[in-house]
């Protein structure tokens, strides 16, 4: 605005001022904004401001056929879209009484853990970029691309795969896929020491992330924090182990925890989860080599598919936390009501608002990214 158009406004004397983070800001994640009130460099109050996505996923889903929503749900979380597909499909299967074949369950686990890996690699880059370490951002994104190549090989798509359908999955593994995926997993594992040198053991990062955005376990439970953010406070809560779905009860993995509850602990938990995901994926690959069978159960004509009336609540451990769908069917060809419980709803609104109070302006972006908030899960 030209200075001639500035309007002079009399305000009461104050040592505080307002600063907008977003909706267009390099330190904001997705279509989202934060309104901060600052005194000097210290945040006095912070208000999360959503509503910039303009999609309205839940209402859109209520306007579409059951099968059409497969194309919509992954868009609710771009960095980690597969849990959206899985949770929606499982809710539809629960309502419709569909039995998912065993091979399809292993294939779903395969893409779920691949998605977790891509999301965590993306997270490493995102967190690093908030503190100015752009090399790690490029490393994370380029290594993630190797996994996206695998996704493309398996599903035909890199980001929005639409691979999991109610009743199973769309395609079986193409010839040689499991071998090429194994090579990529070895590659990712081999890259971890380099990430350690550059990022996790970096003295400046340790100084900046330690003690930043700290929450204790009681706070995390009160505020509905789940997933790696909760585990970073010392609580070993993981739906894959505590309420197993698919074939998670048949694989070995550890639930990674840290106790500090700060930004650094949250990052370390995710680093540990990368190793556990690699471990799970190798077990799943072994199973897929030996488990035969169909990859989906027979479905009726999708354009005239009516799901029996009832409601279902399904949940999945996504890379960000506990993702759940509550779906109500009135027996028609479309859902009557869909509610998405995205973990970022809790992380990006009330938790972020609370953790930023008293933090310095330098750390607002870092706190947000360390919580791995995904704004479309808020603005759904």
């Amino acid at each position: 605005m030209h200075p001639d158009h500035y309007r002079h406004t009399e305000l009461p004397p104050s040592t505080e001022y307002e600063l907008y983070f977003g909706p267009n800001h390099p330190g904001i994640e997705g279509n989202y904004a934060l309104k901060a009130r600052l005194a000097g460099d210290t945040v006095v109050a912070l208000e999360a401001d959503g509503g910039y996505l303009h999609r309205g996923f839940e209402k859109l889903m209520e306007q579409r056929l059951w099968i059409q929503n497969i194309a919509l749900v992954p868009r609710i979380c771009v960095p980690d879209p597969v849990p959206m597909e899985e949770t929606y499909a499982r809710a539809v299967e629960t309502l419709g009484g569909l039995e998912v074949p065993e091979r399809a369950q292993w294939l779903r686990m395969l893409v779920l853990e691949m998605s977790r890996l891509t999301a965590h690699l993306f997270y490493f880059g995102g967190h690093a970029a908030t503190v100015g370490l752009y090399t790690n951002m490029f490393w994370g994104v380029s290594d993630r691309d190797r996994l996206l190549d695998c996704f493309e090989q398996l599903t035909g798509a890199r980001v929005y795969h639409m691979y999991i359908t109610p009743g199973g999955v769309r395609r079986d593994t193409p010839p040689g896929f499991l071998d090429s995926l194994s090579e990529v997993l070895d590659y990712v594992e081999g890259r971890l020491p380099k990430f350690d040198d550059l990022f996790f053991d970096n003295a400046v990062l340790v100084r900046r992330a330690t003690g930043t955005g700290t929450m204790d376990q009681a706070f995390a439970i009160d505020y509905g924090v789940t997933g790696p953010n909760l585990r970073a406070t010392g609580l070993a809560h993981d739906l894959r182990r505590d309420y197993p779905y698919l074939k998670y009860a048949e694989v070995e993995f550890d639930v990674i925890t840290e106790t500090a509850g700060d930004a650094y602990a949250r990052t370390l938990v995710r680093r540990g989860e990368v190793i556990e995901s690699l471990r799970i994926l190798r077990q799943v690959i072994d199973k897929l080599r030996s488990v035969p069978g169909p990859i989906r159960c027979p479905l009726p004509n999708p354009l005239a598919w009516r799901i029996p009336a009832g409601d279902a609540y399904t949940r999945t451990e996504s890379s960000k936390g506990e993702l759940a769908y509550y779906i109500v069917s009135d027996g028609s060809a479309k859902p009557w009501r869909v509610h998405v419980r995205g973990p970022s709803q809790m992380h990006a609104v009330q938790t972020l608002e609370a953790l930023c109070v008293g933090a310095r302006i330098e750390d607002v972006a870092q706190i947000m990214f360390s919580l791995d908030a995904c704004p479309p899960e808020v603005d759904r």
């Binding site: 390099p26 100015g132 370490l133 090399t135 400046v204 100084r207 302006i361 607002v364 972006a365």
Partner: protein, 301 residues
């Protein structure tokens, strides 16, 4: 060569060398980040693109004047910095004049950004001035130590002393290693690179001072960056690396100084503002004071 021609050629040479340094920075950064990086002509095209844009918003007279102050100040610095074959105005002003002029662009930025009334810009400027307070102290100590050692503040004489007989032992880095190390840290901060890049900090303050600079304003800042890379690296070379007998040796040394800075910047996040001050006042300042003490002992003997 006539002085008029020198005054014309020195900024031109500095600009072209600075452009090459920007390109090197981008290529090295890309290599570390596992990217290909831009083609060799990209920095020039960036400047052309920015200057070709229409300016939609002006924030008033001071905003316009300040940007000229930024560019004018840094060009003045170049004129006082002797390079092979051209001494420019270096006979009229010494090291102290040069250091004084080096502050003008920062003050120009402060005035111009202040006019924009953007809080991100104001915070950025506050941080830039804070960072200056951090690195200027060790840098001044290093410069004072060097001036004491050489017994002069005349840059031409400093070059002559170091180039005497063409031996390495006359170089400042050999004679005053502690001051050379401390000055290198300060130079890195002066270039605004991580871990001291606190005043641009995109994720924190949306690029700070540059947030209201677009089109020609941003283009001018880009040009200033080219000059800044040249002046800082050549000044360090002049004080500690024996300057250059020829343009080839001068550029070799100046590029080496920037190269070290680029390597460091790509593997570190940025500090918090107070950490920058703490670090600069602890390590470079401590090392510089030790170096100054050693120089004073040498003189005392």
């Amino acid at each position: 060569m006539s002085i008029a021609l020198q005054l014309l050629l020195m900024p031109l040479a500095a600009f072209l060398v600075g452009l090459a340094m920007v390109l090197m920075m981008r290529k090295v950064r890309a290599s570390v980040e596992r990217r290909i990086g831009p083609p060799w002509y990209q920095p020039l095209f960036d400047i052309y693109k920015l200057f070709a844009k229409d300016t939609q918003i002006s924030h008033g007279v001071m905003h316009d004047v300040a940007i000229m102050m930024v560019l004018g100040g840094i060009i003045c610095v170049v004129l006082f910095l002797p390079v092979p074959g051209m001494s420019g105005l270096s006979a009229k002003g010494d090291l102290i004049t040069l250091l004084y002029l080096m502050m003008v662009p920062s003050l120009g930025m402060a005035l111009g950004v202040g006019q924009t009334a953007n809080p991100n810009g104001s915070i950025g400027i506050a941080r830039a001035l804070t960072a200056m307070a951090g690195y200027e102290i060790p840098f001044f100590i290093c410069v004072a130590g060097a001036a004491l050692h050489y017994g002069t503040t005349d840059l031409n004489q400093i070059l002559t002393i170091q180039q005497h007989g063409g031996h390495l032992e006359h170089w400042g880095i050999v004679q005053m290693p502690l001051l050379a190390v401390a000055a290198l840290f300060a130079v890195h901060a002066m270039l605004g690179k991580e871990p001291f890049e606190i005043y641009v900090a995109p994720a924190e303050i949306a690029t700070g001072p540059m947030v209201e600079m677009s089109g020609k304003y941003l283009g001018t800042l880009f040009v200033m960056q080219c000059f800044q890379l040249f002046t800082v690296s050549v000044l360090y070379t002049t004080l500690f690396l024996g300057g250059g007998f020829s343009w080839f040796t001068l550029l070799l040394k100046a590029f080496a100084v920037v190269f070290i800075s680029v390597l460091v910047t790509n593997v570190y996040p940025r500090y918090r503002t107070d950490d920058v001050l703490r670090w600069q006042w602890k390590w470079p300042t401590g090392i510089a004071l030790l170096g100054l003490g050693m120089v004073m002992l040498q003189i005392g003997r």
